[in-house]
Symmetry: C2
Subunit: 204 residues, 2 copies
DNA sequence: TGGAGAATGTTGACTGGGTCAACATACACC
DNA sequence: GGTGTATGTTGACCCAGTCAACATTCTCCA
């Protein structure tokens, strides 16, 4: 069922479609993904994908969901392998987040670009992105308990932190940031600013 | 030259195209913008737009540039009319930024979505976005001089601030944020966190 | 074992939409 | 008034999404 050398039936076309679409996105951007081209690359006809996805949007949503899962894994591992302070762990999460976006720019764009995925709410996508947020909220909550940062609504703080890293990632990907700027410095400065800002305000 | 009731020649089709495209984007998203539809809405044939823009991308770039100018105006006015403290002015700029995005979500998306505008660098777009950054840098510099915030590279701080508001705007537009969350609170908390973070870190 | 029905692929055809080339009209300016 | 340029129009072409009709293979049960 897994390996199929020559066949009228592909074996696991659905999975292959998602992987191939992701690869094409990485190579030539989302615009280069064509139902016809993707089929052809998999040695299958243009109509075949429609046996697994009702339309192109559905396929792209699946790709985006896969991206969120991958990103989640990156962040999770980064968080786990760090035995350092909780602040350090948060900083590292932020860095990994931005780095993921820089390594897979087109994929990242797709994940957040509801534009290409119009249509209603795409519950799967929402769930995948939600998992990301939940992880962040959990980490922030833990860090609040270690009283290293101000005790405030952890969800709101998570949104703020998410906004900062997502915004930075987005601006970098869209080349809105002067290429002479040191990206690593900028990432560090961003996470540092957020962490400082969360720690509570100095008296006016 | 301005008013033309009936005419083979439209009068100022170029301007009209940009405005109409912006309107269509607001109404139905960027996907609803079609060279044919836009021409039809202006009572002109499908080929007419090509006398003013080499292709659809060029038209969309013009729309995006117009968006940046409009956003710049919003922020500028917001900054000017505030006679309050410099911190307060920065905060207001952040709020106006996010509010602009929420009021013109599809247009905002287009401004930052190089996806739809593929192709090389679009110098006009770069310049329009650059103006935004310069304004922010200027304001931050002034505020540093009034010694209300830490003296650091104002450009880097501008990028951090821009990232935060852009990220928040983007997440809100893409509905990644729980609709039960109070948007105004979130905006305030984001700008506040950034301002606190810029103000310098409390000793560890 | 031999279908029957369900999955999965293939092909032809239609549509919408970007774009170009050839042609038409209007304007500007001499 | 005439000519060259700017601006519009129309016909045609191509790509890509998608559906319907048909083909092949698979699964599974009598």
């Amino acid at each position: 069922m897994a390996e199929r050398v020559h066949a009228y039936h592909h074996g696991d076309l659905r999975t292959a479609l998602v992987e191939e679409a992701a690869a094409m996105i990485s190579e030539g951007g989302a615009a280069s993904v064509t139902m016809r081209a993707i089929g052809s690359r998999l040695g299958v006809s243009r109509g075949a994908p429609y046996r697994h996805f009702p339309d192109k949007t559905a396929l792209l949503v699946a790709v985006a969901v896969a991206g969120f899962k991958r990103l989640n894994r990156c962040l999770g591992s980064g968080d786990a392998e760090a035995s350092s302070s909780s602040v350090e762990r948060l900083r590292r999460m932020g860095e990994q987040y931005v780095r993921f976006a820089l390594e897979h720019p087109a994929h990242y764009r797709l994940m957040y670009g509801k534009e290409a995925l119009e249509r209603q709410d795409q519950p799967e996508l929402r769930k995948a992105a939600g998992a990301l947020l939940e992880n962040l909220v959990d980490v922030i909550r833990v860090h609040q308990q270690s009283s290293e940062i101000e005790t405030a609504d952890p969800r709101a703080q998570a949104y703020v932190a998410w906004s900062a890293v997502h915004g930075l990632a987005s601006l970098l990907i869209e080349r809105q940031i002067d290429p002479n700027v040191d990206v690593d410095d900028l990432i560090r400065q961003t996470t540092q600013t957020i962490l400082d800002g969360m720690r509570g305000r100095s008296p006016d």
